[in-house]
Structure formats: C-alpha cells, structure tokens
Amino acid sequence: MKYIDEYRDPAKVHALLDEIRAAVTRPWVLMEICGGQTHAFLHHGLDEMLPPQLELVHGPGCPVCVTPLEQIDRALAIAARPEVIFTSYGDMLRVPGSTRDLFAVRAAGGDVRVVYSPLEAVALAEAHPDRQVVFFAIGFETTAPANAMAVLQARQKGLKNFSVLVSHVRVPPAMEAILGSPSNRVQAFLAAGHVCAVMGYHEYPPIAEKYRVPVVVTGFEPVDLLRGALAAVRQLEVGRFEVENAYERAVTFEGNRPAQAVIERVFQPVDRKWRGIGVIPQSGWGLRPEFAEFDAETRFAVGEISTQESPLCIAGEILQGLKKPLQCSAYGKQCTPQTPLGAPMVSAEGACAAYFRYHKGAQA
C-alpha cells in the first residue's frame, strides 16, 4: 500500500535500529506523547527491538484517557434523555462513567450513535428537526478543527437542535505540566505528529529551551518512530535540546493555518481538568461566548454532576510516564479491556490497552 509500505520497510527499520544502537551510550527516557504512537510501537513489536538503554514512557496523548469522569457522566445523562440523539467517536462508548457506559445507555433505549465525523452529527440534526442532536467533542488539536467546523456549520444552517459537549485538550500545556512535576523522568519528547500537522511546531521552542529537553516531531509508522527516536538520542548524547521535525511529509513549522483559524474562531483556551492529572491551566478549549448557544452542558443543565472514582487504578502515574501498566496491581486482574478500571485500558490508544492487546496480558 503506497505511503504506508515504504515506512514499514524491514530493511529501513533495521538500518535505523543499527544507527540508534550506534548512537546510544547511556540510558535515556523518551516519552512518545501520542497514544497512536504507543500503539504503533507495540503493534509492530518495535518497543522490544530498541536497545535496552532506551526507555519509552507513554504520554498522555490519548483523548479518551484524559477526558474527566464527570464529563463522561454528563454525556451519559444527556444520552439517556428521550429527545436526544447522542453522537460520539467510537471509542468513547466503552469508557465507564460512575455506574455505566454509553453501551449500557444504548441498551436501555438511549439513541447513541457512532459517527466518523462531527459533520455527520450536523447532518443528523438537519434530518431530525424534532430531536436534539448532541456531539461529544473530545480530542486534542487533531479533532478540534472538524469539531469547530461542525459548530460553524450548525450556525450557518440556523440549527437550533444541535449542540456539542466539549472536552477538548491541548498538548503543549500537558508537556509543561509533566516537565514541571517534581517526579518527572522524561528527558526527551517524541511530539505527536498529527497534532503538529494541524498546529505546526512553533509552540515548542520555548518549552525545549525552558526545560532543556529535545522535542522531535514524530510520525506513526515504524520508520517514522525510529527516525524520531534517533534524532532525540543524538541530541541527548551531545547535550542539545532543540526542536526537530522528523515528520516532514506531514508537518510544517507553521502548521495548517486555515484549520488553526477555524479553531480560534469557535474555541478559546480554558482551564481543563485532565483525568489522572488534575486541572491544568489553559490546557483545554471551550466554546467562545458567542457560540454559547451550542453548549450542551448548559442546554441540558448537567454542569453540576460530580463523581467518585476507584482508588485502585494508577492511570495518573501511567499517563505521565511514572509507571508502566505492568506495575499496576489491578492490571490484567480487576482491570481488563472488558472491565476497565481506568481510561488507559479503555481506548484503542490507551497505554494499558496497548500492553494488554499486544504484549503481556492476554492470558485467559
């Protein structure tokens, strides 16, 4: 398959592995930001092919994992209402709220539908003027432009029965939160290539400078991941801390300006709670006041919902790379992809689910 096979070429992969082995002289801790990268490492068995001095820790870049529990409970409350068609990206359905998940709401008669694009939700609202169509707008900078576009289209069409439950998050503040934590172990970042395709990487030089960490924009195929790791290692070995782009075919310094403009038109930075991490200042996007009429949280008065959570799960430590999934006492026992205790076990991009599927759980 063109544009994929050349980045999974075994000869190129092994040549890059040789280069990395030649470059590494000491132990280093790298964090891949994005859950998609975590999965790619494990999906291809690449993590175990890296030299032992390199430790990968898995970052918080799984939008499903970091969406706070109360936001899930709000979604469940809205989805259960008879007048509502609740639309969501697929993997949010499995995330448990305090007592149930969207599957259970659907089994109890709620109209819950998986969409591939928020624009499908807008089309549903047009087709069902007698129903309230709500879209669960989660994700990083990657999903934000399309979600913002859905709101713009709804306004343009004059739709009164469309709204969004917003839980958007931004990567750079999370990187700073991790680096600023006293327990931080991360020495270099593989930045999330898809996020950078939208946002560029002009936000990273101040972070690299302030915390003295290399940041390498990295893609998702084996060759991309290894090029990112190699660039990070070469910087670490000589004590450099610069921002580098190892995903040139998709990412420019400026990023996708029209997409950024759509985000800025609809959203503004807000303080956002991250599951497992807490409130990070200015780390999310919320609707601008002029789009408040599309806010499902106020339309359905669910802002007051609060929650209790299981003390077993160590997702917070996993999401910031302090612990590995295997170090969790609940991993593979109380916590499996069927009965997730925490969000990293839920999403296809979650670190725990990746371990369970590809590696170390999996026994009956």
Binding site: E176, S310, G361, A364
Partner: protein, 352 residues
C-alpha cells in the same frame, strides 16, 4: 506555568463495570464478551450434556453413524451488500459450521422473523438467493417457519437456519485437535466480508469494489479431507482470524505462531482498516476457513485448495510451535513480536 498544585499522585479511576445488568451489543460481537456469555451463562445451564460445545457443530452418535448438528441466526444491515445478502449468508453460515467439523451437510431448516412492512419483492429476492446457495452447496431446505412482528419489533428480516450433516468415518476434526508441528493454513484473503458490509453502512460511505466472500465451503473441505490429514477446521467469522485462533489455542492448549507477511489481505481491506483504525485480523469472514494439518500433508492440501474456486489464494501463515499455556504470537513484518487476543467486544473505530 503554575503546576505546583497539580496532584499527579491523587488520580482515581471510574468504578468498574464488572458485571453488566443488561445485554449489550458487544455480547453478540463474536469476541470475548460473546465467549463470556457462552461459558458463564449458557453452557452451565444448557450445555451440560453437550460434548465439544465449543466447536462449530455438535456430533451425535446415531446407530454407528455420526451426525453433526448446528444452528445459527443471521442479522445483517443492510440486507443486501456487495457480493451477497442475508439469504446467502444464512445458508452458507450453517453449511460452513457443519463443514468445519468435517461433516457433509444434508439438510437445513429455516425460520424467518419478518418485520411488518417488508416488501414482498425483498423477501422474494432473499428466498431465491437462499435457494441458489443451497443448490450450490448441495443441501436442501427441509422445513421452515415464519413469524411476523410489528413494525419496530425487528430490523426488516432475521433468518435462523439449522443444519444436519453426516461425518464420514475416519474424519476427526475439532478445535481441540491442534498439536505441535501442525501448520496453519487460511483459504484466502481476510476481512473481505466485514469491510464490504461496513462500506455500505450509513455515514461511512467509502467507495470500494470489494465483494463479500460469503460462500459455502463444504466442497472445498471435502477435497481437503481427501488430500490429507486435517486436525482443525474453523471459519473465522465474527471476531476474525485472531479471535478464532485464540479459541483454538485454548481448546488445544497450544502456542501458535503466525508470520504477518504470510497472511493474505487485499489492498482495499488494508486501506479501509488503516483509515478506520481496524485490524484485518479481527474483521469477519463468511467464505474463508483456517485449517491445521501436519506438515507432511500440508503441501498436498494447499495444492488442492488452490485449485478450488474458494481456495485460490490459500496460504500457510504459521504453525503450532509447542504445547502448553495457550498463546497466539504474531511475528510482525519488521521482525517484532506481539500477542494476539480475542476481540474484546464491539469493534469500535478509533478517534484519530
């Protein structure tokens, strides 16, 4: 940036959904939830007297002969999809379940649950398709039943077929019979059916010329059994090849190792899976089988398969490496290794 008040240690998780109070769609996915439902609820109550309850069909001794018996309900949206329809699916599904224990299918029964309002023209086309599939498989529909439910009580049309077949003397095929040294053969490309159906779903609308592989496999199986010794046959339907192989590894208590680059997958299926965040190894097939055979016979069986219209792209994809704690390992194309598990529940597209 102010990060002092962030509580990285104080993270708590949502309460688990350890036991659901209701059935959810995932219980019908063919994956782990389906397996749990079967082993925890149905088998303890209903399966006490059923030998080999985890194979595709049951074997019943009858005055020296062995009868195979199976049943399968079919629900699919849309009713007509590229390469097939619910009628062909209903016949092939049950014929194949019989064939997967080495049986020669004899006769089927067919029960229809019809939602009021279904056009006669639709029903007629489905029934004609059933007849043509039955004729191709060399079986006949021996009995049937019809129920009509009110609008909203069913999604158009559900069809349940049951089948009986006879197992020839000397044939011993079961998911429990895999053993070290066996090679693993698939009869062709994986994921065609699931992706062909998915491409027709509302909201997806990606264009492909992909056809479902739905087909009766009893003819292919008969020729394979004549060509050599076969230990295991299974059709990797819902849950896909990975789920099927995990089941076999558990039934037989063996370790199976696959080579990713040997597994045949069409370029369109790979592309659709890349786009949607699916893995072809978990996508449903309706006209493919996986066989375990001793190495000495594998070449002859493979040659026979490739001459058959439903086995032209048959390939050896791996082997049973040892007996012991069940495991399915995949050697990735770049030389890494990962484990394959069952499909957890409903297959969900990824967010990005």
């Amino acid at each position: 940036m102010q990060t002092d008040d962030l509580d990285f240690e104080g993270y708590t998780c949502p309460l688990p959904i350890q036991q659901r109070e209701t059935v959810v769609l995932g219980h019908g996915s063919g994956g782990k939830l389906s397996h749990d439902l079967l082993t925890r609820l149905f088998l303890p109550e209903l399966g006490k007297a059923a030998p080999r309850a985890l194979d595709d069909a049951a074997l019943l001794g009858l005055e020296g002969a062995r009868l195979a018996l199976t049943t399968d309900s079919h629900v699919v949206a849309p009713l007509f999809f590229p390469g097939g329809d619910i009628g062909r699916l209903a016949v092939c599904g049950t014929v194949n379940d019989l064939a997967m224990v080495g049986a020669r299918p004899l006769a089927l029964t067919s029960a229809f649950i019809i939602e009021e309002g279904l056009p006669f023209e639709t029903l007629q086309r489905v029934v004609q398709s059933m007849q043509s599939a039955a004729a191709e498989a060399g079986v006949f529909i021996a009995a049937g039943d019809t129920k009509v439910v009110q609008k909203g009580g069913a999604d158009g049309l559900f069809i349940t077929t049951s089948g009986v077949g006879s197992v020839p003397p000397g044939v011993e095929v079961s998911g429990a019979n895999a053993r070290p040294g066996d090679v693993v053969i698939v009869s062709g490309t994986l994921g065609d059916h699931g992706i062909a159906v998915l491409s027709q779903r509302e909201g997806l609308g990606f264009e492909t010329d992909l056809q479902s592989d739905v087909a009766p496999l009893n003819g292919l199986v008969a020729e394979m059994l004549a060509a050599g010794e076969i230990h295991v046959l299974r059709d990797p339907t819902r849950g896909g090849l990975a789920t099927t192989l995990v089941e076999i590894s558990r039934q037989s208590q063996v370790v199976i190792e696959l080579r990713q680059e040997a597994i045949p997958v069409k370029a369109q299926v790979r592309a659709a899976c890349e786009m949607l965040g699916f893995d072809p190894l978990y996508i449903a097939n309706e006209g493919k089988l996986v066989a375990f055979a001793p190495e000495k016979d594998a070449g002859r069986i493979l040659e026979t398969m490739r001459k058959h219209r439903y086995g032209q792209e048959a390939a050896i994809i791996g082997r049973v490496v040892e007996a012991g704690s069940p495991q399915v390992r995949l050697k990735t194309a770049i030389g890494g290794t990962r484990l394959l598990d069952m499909l957890p529940g409903e297959m969900l597209p990824r967010i990005c």
